[in-house]
Each structure stands twice: as structure tokens, then as C-alpha cells.
């Protein structure tokens, strides 16, 4: 590249608009947006859902839905993409401008081998075939650090884990040597440890290949880790732009300030402006509500054959803990670690294979059906997906009052309505909305409905199963504040399940880390973050992105030994205790013991780091 071309931006958009014609009128998704990207630069686009950040780039490269139209210019090296024909666009898309999407499974064609999918792009754009193409495919897979790249070419997408698939997507995107990589929420569907790996790979690509990157994300932490410059987007407009340092350390626009303020931070658990976690009183510390003793939940997995063989999938494999009145226990772990299964086993929504749950000293295993239903009054749950957990054919009033009508059938109608009204006010919903339906509300409002439904029977324990994970940052902050203030008012205990360690730190008194159905560490909210002992906990904590560019770039990551192994393989549970492992997938393995390293801080046995 000559010097003159490097001064010219790779991508330059001026007064760009995107509009959609819908039956309910025109939607102005992107409104008068201008920006540029230079060679070797990473531009972060941050905004909440519906801000138009994805549509901006989809429209820019000509992937707009049929009811949309654009206005303004979108220049790639001086050529206006918005004015090009599909044929011309195809020359550039996939070769010079490539995209990575959020879901790596749906972006790969399921019936084609990995190798065929990568070489297809090479054949199309670079007219590379046979040996050359294969060699290039292997190179690009090695660039994204996929082990045994040659063998992977013969594999199908379903044989790879989510993180591996996203790496393949990146390999495909970089195989033709693009100038610009558009990454649309590339790590949102992945676990934190995998996210950290993917971000690292993308950062290396930027320096090694001098590729420009557009990183679209809702996560300020991810943006801080990657972006040189940041554009903050809201309602289709850029509200703030500047270098990462300017935007993160000196935000000008109130919306940016709000976003940074709302984001829970793992390095700052008790920030001013948020509802603080109430400390436990002496009396509360003495009253134990819930004791979980060595609970196991195994699912039989059908292995097929004429005479069906089953192998147990140990979703939860011997977890014990206790919970005091008014206390919040955070349960963290990556997908598939059994945290939701554990919650359902505690609530007796799923049968336990072994172990006992003691509620106020009574064993729930002995409770009959009638007693169990009465117990539901004291144990409630809030679900992850606010819309899916509400019956679409019921008004929110009916949904909220349902547990009340089921558990206290003697209540008069007027009293039920009265209590629903009162609870709606408690959770910040206007009581006049009682006859509305879930599809008329936003995700945050629906989650308030879900919380109201759980709280209406005044339970003593509420389990929040990823209750804030599906929400935008600003809404998430509101819901967390709501949960904490409800806890202060009603004094209930909580089990807060999440994959997001920053949120868990903000709301929990104690934190438990799960790995493949087993507890690996349990400690006080501060001890577990300042003094993590188990290598898995350390890896998890170091992988959480912090919205602070300097800290984020200086951070030393603790890598995990390998990808999450199959939970059907009995060796998997001893990933961190290889010295005691028997090398046979079906063998009965050693069970690591929990060691109390300091009062209240338990760590599972592991090999020295």
C-alpha cells in the first residue's frame, strides 16, 4: 500500500439513512449517520437493542430487507456501495468486506464440511482451487488457533463447539484477505472464557493482517477491550463519538454516561447511585432457611442400538450449600454447568437422582403433593426470557394473580385485585395496565411482570434464573435495583443464577462457582473476586471484560486448559485434577473434596497452578 491510500479512509459514510416501510408506518432505523474507518483501525459501535447499529452495516453492504431503503452515501475506498448493483456488491462482499454474525451455528451451512465452506469463498473470489485452496484454508484456520486444522477441514459444523464455530467463521471471513471485517455482536452468544479467546484472536488479526474491524456490540466491556475509536448509537443516531479513552474516561453525552453508569462492574461492586446490597443482620445470619445436601440430577442419555443403552448425563453431581434468611447466593458458571438444573431441583420442578433439600429443617423429599404445592408459596422463581415465561393469551393481571388464585383459593376476588394492584406498584408497573397483554410491553416491563408474579405470594425464597441476562444494560440496572429494593422491603432470600460475574458480584452475599455440575469454589462476594483460589474461578474472573480501556488492555488473562469437554465423558470432571484422573471415559472417577481455605471459603481440590 502506498502512503496516499492509507490516508484515505477504507470506509466512509456520509448522511446515511435507513428507513423501513411497515404496516404501522415508516420506521427511521438509521438517521443521518456519518463516520469513517481507516486502515488497521477498530471502530466500536455501541448501542442497546433497536438502536439501528446492525441495520446500519447490513444496509451499507446491501443486505437490507426488502421493505427497507437507504439514502446518502456509503463509500468503500471511494466507491459508493449504496449505488452498486448486486453483482458488483458480490465482488466486494466476502472478499474485501466480510462479516461475522452473532450466532455461529446458523451462519454456517450445516450439511457442508468446514473445509468446503472456506474454500468456496476462495474459489469464488480468488479463483483458487485444489491444493492451493486447501492450504490457504488450513492457514486461515491456524491463524485463529484451531488445533489440528487439517483434520477440522473434514468436519461438519455440528461437530464443533460454539467457540470453535465462531473461530471458523472468523477464518472464513479472513481467508480472502479482506480490508474490512464487520463483526456484529461476535461474542454475545458465547461464554465469557470463550469470548476472551475470540477477542484475543480478533485483536491479533488486526495487528498481523492490518485488517480494519467494525465491532458492533451492546457490551461496553467488549468495546473497551477492542476499539480504538467508539461511536455510541441511540435511536438510529450517533450521540457520541471519539477515541476509546475519550468516550470511556470523559463521556460527554448523558446517554453514554448512563450506559457506563448502568453497567455492572466486576472491579467496583458497590458504586454510588445503585441500590446497595443490604448486609445481613445478626438474627438473619443465624436462621438457616435452605439446606441443600449432596444433590444430584442425572439424565439418562439414549445411546441408541437395538437394545437401548443409557448413559447418565450428570447435570448436577453432588452440590451442597445452605442459605440464610435474607441472604443472596450467587451461582455462576458457563453454559451447561447445571446451574438452571440445580435451581429446578431445589424447587422440586425436576426429580432429584440423589440428595436432599431441607426447607426450614423439613426434607422436601418427604413432602407429598399437597404439601409441595403449599411450599410453592414460599419458593418462587423468576425466569430468563420475560416474554416466553408469560402466557401470551393471558393479560398481565391474570398472569400475576395466577399463583395467588392457585395457592390461596379462598381469597375474595376484590382482594386478589387489590393485591395485584399493590404488587404492580411495588415493581414499578402502572396498575391501570392490568388488562394489557405481554406483547404490548418491552422486555424490561415484562420482567417486572415476572417478578410481580413471583412476589405476589410473599415467598421466603426467590430464585432468579438468569433473570436479567436477556435485558439491555440500562434495563438490567433497573431490574437489579428493583430486586435489591424488594429484598429490602420483603426480606426474602435469593438465589441469583447468572453467567455474568459482574452482576452476581453486585447482588450476592456469597458466590458459588459451578463447573460441569460440581461446585469448584464457594466464598464471600469479595473473597471470591479478590482471592480466587481455583484455576477455573481465576480464568472466569480474568475473562470478564471491564469497561475501562486501559485496564482491559493491560489485563493478564488466565487461560483454561481446553474447551469445555463433553459432560458425558467421566474424565471431564477432573480437568483441574489431572493427577488423579483415570484415562477411561466410562471409569468411576475420583470425587474432588471441598477444602475450607479460610472461614466460609471453600475450594475444590485441584492440581497446583
Amino acid at each position: 500500500m502506498s502512503d496516499s491510500s492509507s490516508n484515505l479512509p477504507i470506509l466512509y459514510a456520509k448522511n446515511f439513512h435507513v428507513r423501513f416501510a411497515t404496516p404501522d408506518g415508516e420506521v427511521h432505523a438509521v438517521n443521518d449517520v456519518s463516520f469513517n474507518i481507516h486502515e488497521g483501525e477498530c471502530l466500536g459501535i455501541v448501542g442497546e437493542s433497536g438502536s439501528g447499529k446492525s441495520q446500519l452495516f447490513l444496509a451499507g453492504v446491501g443486505l437490507l430487507a426488502s421493505n427497507g431503503r437507504t439514502e446518502g452515501s456509503f463509500l468503500y475506498r471511494g466507491e459508493n456501495l449504496a449505488a452498486m448493483s448486486q453483482k458488483q456488491l458480490n465482488q466486494i462482499r466476502g472478499a474485501k468486506i466480510t462479516m461475522i454474525f452473532q450466532d455461529p451455528l446458523t451462519s454456517l451451512t450445516p450439511h457442508l464440511r468446514i473445509g468446503d465452506q472456506i474454500t468456496e469463498a476462495l474459489r469464488h473470489h480468488q479463483h483458487m482451487t485444489g491444493e492451493n485452496a486447501t492450504k490457504r484454508a488450513v492457514e486461515s484456520l491456524e491463524l485463529v488457533r484451531i488445533p489440528e486444522a487439517k483434520r477440522r477441514l473434514r468436519q461438519y459444523p455440528h461437530e464443533l463447539s460454539g467457540g470453535m464455530r465462531q473461530r471458523v467463521m472468523i477464518a472464513m471471513a479472513t481467508a480472502c484477505g479482506p480490508d474490512l471485517l464487520i463483526a456484529d455482536e461476535p461474542t454475545t452468544a458465547l461464554d465469557v472464557t470463550v469470548q476472551a479467546q475470540i477477542l484475543e484472536i480478533m485483536r491479533d488479526l488486526k495487528t498481523e493482517l492490518n485488517t480494519s474491524i467494525v465491532l458492533i456490540s451492546h457490551d461496553m466491556g467488549v468495546i473497551a477491550a477492542m476499539a480504538d475509536r467508539v461511536q455510541v448509537m441511540r435511536h438510529g443516531e450517533f450521540v457520541e463519538s471519539g477515541t476509546a479513552e475519550e468516550v470511556f474516561y470523559n463521556p460527554k453525552h448523558s446517554y453514554t454516561q448512563m450506559l457506563l453508569e448502568a453497567m455492572p462492574r466486576i472491579d467496583m461492586p458497590d458504586r454510588p447511585g445503585h441500590t446497595p446490597l443490604a448486609p445481613l443482620s445478626e438474627e438473619e445470619q443465624r436462621t438457616t432457611l435452605l439446606e441443600v445436601e449432596d444433590v444430584k440430577v442425572h439424565f439418562p442419555i439414549h445411546l441408541g442400538g437395538w437394545f437401548p443403552k443409557y448413559k447418565p448425563l450428570r447435570a448436577v453431581d453432588g452440590v451442597s450449600f445452605s442459605l440464610n434468611q435474607g441472604e443472596t447466593l450467587g451461582i455462576v458458571g458457563e453454559s451447561g454447568c447445571g446451574k438452571s438444573t440445580l435451581a429446578r431441583a431445589v424447587l422440586a420442578l425436576l426429580p432429584k437422582t440423589d440428595g436432599a433439600v431441607l426447607w426450614c429443617g423439613k426434607n422436601l423429599n418427604d413432602a407429598d403433593k399437597g404439601n409441595l404445592r403449599m411450599l410453592r408459596k414460599e419458593l418462587q422463581i423468576v425466569f430468563q426470557d420475560p416474554l416466553a415465561s408469560l402466557d401470551p393469551r393471558m393479560t398481565i393481571g391474570q398472569s400475576i394473580s395466577e399463583p395467588l388464585r392457585a395457592l390461596e383459593p379462598d381469597l375474595a376476588r376484590a382482594e386478589v385485585t387489590e393485591r395485584v394492584h399493590a404488587m404492580m406498584e411495588h415493581v414499578g408497573l402502572d396498575p391501570t395496565w392490568i388488562n394489557r397483554y405481554p406483547h404490548e410491553f418491552s422486555g424490561g416491563q415484562n420482567q417486572r411482570v415476572g417478578i410481580a408474579r413471583a412476589m405476589i405470594v410473599r415467598p421466603k425464597l426467590v430464585i432468579c434464573d438468569e433473570a436479567v441476562s436477556a435485558l439491555d444494560v440500562s434495563i438490567q440496572a433497573q431490574i437489579i435495583d428493583l430486586l435489591l429494593s424488594l429484598q429490602k422491603t420483603f426480606g426474602m432470600s435469593m438465589i441469583f443464577i447468572s453467567h455474568d460475574l459482574s452482576v452476581v458480584r453486585q447482588v450476592s452475599h456469597r458466590v458459588m462457582v459451578l463447573y460441569l455440575g460440581r461446585m469448584v469454589e464457594l466464598a464471600d462476594r469479595n473473597a471470591i473476586y479478590t482471592d480466587p483460589r481455583h484455576p477455573y474461578t481465576r480464568a472466569l474472573i480474568s475473562a470478564v471484560p471491564v469497561p475501562d480501556p486501559k485496564k482491559e488492555r493491560a489485563k493478564e488473562r488466565v487461560p483454561l486448559p481446553d474447551d469445555l469437554p463433553s459432560p458425558l465423558d467421566s474424565r471431564a470432571t477432573l480437568t483441574f485434577l489431572k493427577s488423579k484422573r483415570i484415562d477411561d471415559p466410562d471409569a468411576v472417577q475420583y470425587v474432588p473434596q471441598m477444602i475450607e481455605v479460610s472461614p466460609g471459603h471453600f475450594v475444590a481440590e485441584h492440581d497446583p497452578v
Binding site: 424447587l347 420442578l349 404445592r373 403449599m374 410453592r376 408459596k377 419458593l379 418462587q380 422463581i381 425466569f383 430468563q384 426470557d385 416466553a388 415465561s389 408469560l390 402466557d391 401470551p392 393469551r393 393471558m394 393479560t395 398472569s399 395466577e402 399463583p403 392457585a406 395457592l407 385485585t417 387489590e418 394492584h421 399493590a422 406498584e425 414499578g428 408497573l429 402502572d430 396498575p431 391501570t432 395496565w433 392490568i434 388488562n435 394489557r436 397483554y437 406483547h439 404490548e440 415476572g450 408474579r453 405470594v457 433497573q478
Partner: protein, 312 residues
């Protein structure tokens, strides 16, 4: 956040502020349905045909079994008086059939039978199918397996063979026809309802209801059935024409309605025999039946688009 309201104020607010009326999914679906022109026109046409069938005796001076031997296979005539061939008598809009009965009134009586068979047999299949399918789907496991294998066995029996045996054993009669067709049509209904139940059962809101202490019966009636109704309604509108066709097929074979009562199937069968000499005997009933079937199919399509707009 809303500022907290004191308990005393609340009663006032409850009285003063009328609760906002929600827009339910049904209201949405109805709006979408009425925007669909084909469906609306079909509903109007079907309504006219139904009214004509109900008020048939008022629309014609003749009775459906009144025979006029002088006017056998007379061509349609729209005005009273002598026609071109010199026959005297009143107007016979659709002409006369092979034994000298007015075809107009007979077509309307045929509509009565065909529509009634369509509705009643569909209701029979609806009741058996929904109950059977919902039970199998909700109970699941081995019971589900057994119940659905039974359906598979019935599926494998040839339908006509089955109906002929029934007709031979119990003589030909009106009620039996309903039962026989309904008893065959419920199989598909049961499969559809079972599939829907299985998918609704796994939804998070059902789990939420269980966590809220709602019993099995409450879950079925309050959550499963209302959420299964949509696809069922669609299937019903598509079953009615299938049943009407099945009835006319049986009648065509001579296994359906008995003389002098008639149905579209019987009329078409007779018309087909007299095609060369009196083509109107085939044309009028066939056109009526075709229009009706089209209407039901358009309404079914419209309902499908209205009830799950995401599938388009």
C-alpha cells in the same frame, strides 16, 4: 420508577382511572383476518350460500321431491310461460332433473346436507381429536406412544373399505354417515393437537405456572388449550371441505344419502350420468360445491396468516 402510592389513595385511583383495555392476540388476529380480502369475500359468499340453504323452501315455489313427469330434463328457464320447446309451466332456474324435479331447490337441499355433514363430522373429529391428542401429548411417555401407535394403525386401514363395511353392517343412514366420516377425520386432528401440545408443554410459561402452584388440570385448561386453539381452528376450516368431498365421494359411489333426500355428491353423480343430454345437471351443483370449497380454503388460509403471522 413510579412514585409509591399510599394505601388510602389506591382505592381512589382504582375507581377513577379506568383500567386500560389490552389488545389481545385474538383482537390482533381478527384485524389481520379482516384485512385479507380473499378471506372476507369468501366469508360473505359462504354466508349467502348458508342462508340460501337454510331458507331454501322460501326461495322456490317447488318442493324438493315434487315430480313433474312432463318436464324431465327440461333446460333452465328463467321466466314463467312457454319455453322454446313449447312446454308450459313456471320458471325452473336450474332446469329439471332426470325424473322431473326442480334442480334449484334440490341444489339448495343438497347444500343443506353437504354443509351439515361438513360441520357435524368436523365437530365429531374435533372433539375426539382434541381430547385424544391433548391427552397423549400432555401425559407423554409410554401412554403417548401407545395412543399414537393406535392412531397409526387406524391410519393404515383403507378409509373406503372401512366405511363400506360400516354401511353394509348398519344399513345406509344419515347419522352413520356423519359418524363414519368423523371417525376417520379425527386421526389427523389428534396428531396436530398432540404436536402442538408437546411444544406448548415445553414453553417457559407452563413451567412458570407449575412453579406458581397451578395443578395439572389448571395448566391444561388455562395454558395448553388456549394456546393450541389457533392451529386447531385453522385445521378445522380445512377439514370441512375435506369432509364435504368425502361425503360426495361416498354418495357418488352410492353409499351416501338416500333418495329422495339429496346432497351435492348425489346431484353431481346423477349429473355426470346425464352429461350428454342435460349438462346443467352437472354444472350447477358442481359450481356450488366448488365455490364452497374455495371459500373454506381461502378462509383457512386467511386464518393461518392471521393467527401465526410469523410463519409467512
Amino acid at each position: 420508577m413510579i412514585t409509591p402510592i399510599l394505601p388510602g389513595e389506591r382505592a381512589e385511583i382504582m375507581q377513577s382511572a379506568e383500567a386500560v383495555k389490552g389488545r389481545s392476540l385474538w383482537v390482533d388476529a381478527r384485524r389481520r383476518l379482516f384485512r385479507n380480502k380473499a378471506a372476507v369475500v369468501s366469508m360473505i359468499v359462504l354466508g349467502i350460500i348458508t342462508l340460501m340453504a337454510i331458507f331454501a323452501p322460501l326461495l322456490s315455489p317447488y318442493a324438493f321431491d315434487e315430480i313433474d313427469y312432463d318436464l324431465v330434463q327440461r333446460a333452465p328457464s328463467w321466466w314463467p310461460g312457454d319455453d322454446v320447446l313449447g312446454y308450459a309451466g313456471g320458471a325452473h332456474w336450474f332446469g329439471m332433473d332426470s325424473v322431473g324435479r326442480d334442480l334449484f331447490i334440490r341444489t339448495l337441499y343438497g347444500a343443506r346436507v353437504s354443509l351439515a355433514v361438513g360441520l357435524v363430522a368436523t365437530c365429531v373429529s374435533l372433539m375426539i381429536g382434541v381430547l385424544y391428542g391433548a391427552t397423549a401429548g400432555f401425559l407423554g411417555g409410554r401412554i403417548d406412544n401407545l395412543m399414537m401407535r393406535f392412531v397409526d394403525i387406524l391410519y393404515s386401514l383403507p378409509f373406503i373399505f372401512f366405511v363400506i363395511i360400516l354401511m353394509v353392517i348398519f344399513e345406509q343412514n344419515f347419522i352413520l354417515l356423519f359418524v363414519a366420516i368423523g371417525a376417520v377425520e379425527w386421526l389427523t386432528m389428534a396428531r396436530i393437537v398432540r404436536g402442538q401440545t408437546l411444544s406448548v408443554k415445553q414453553k417457559e410459561f407452563v413451567e412458570a405456572a407449575r412453579a406458581g402452584g397451578v395443578g395439572t388440570w389448571g395448566i391444561i385448561t388455562r395454558h395448553i388449550i388456549p394456546n393450541v386453539v389457533g392451529p386447531v381452528i385453522i385445521y378445522v376450516t380445512l377439514t370441512i371441505p375435506a369432509v364435504i368431498l368425502a361425503e360426495s365421494f361416498l354418495s357418488f359411489l352410492g353409499l351416501g344419502i338416500r333418495e329422495p333426500m339429496t346432497s351435492w355428491g348425489v346431484l353431481i353423480s346423477e349429473g355426470a350420468n346425464a352429461l350428454e343430454t342435460a349438462p346443467w345437471l352437472l354444472i350447477f351443483p358442481a359450481v356450488f360445491m366448488a365455490i364452497t370449497l374455495f371459500c373454506f380454503n381461502f378462509i383457512g388460509d386467511g386464518l393461518r396468516d392471521a393467527l401465526d403471522p410469523k410463519d409467512r
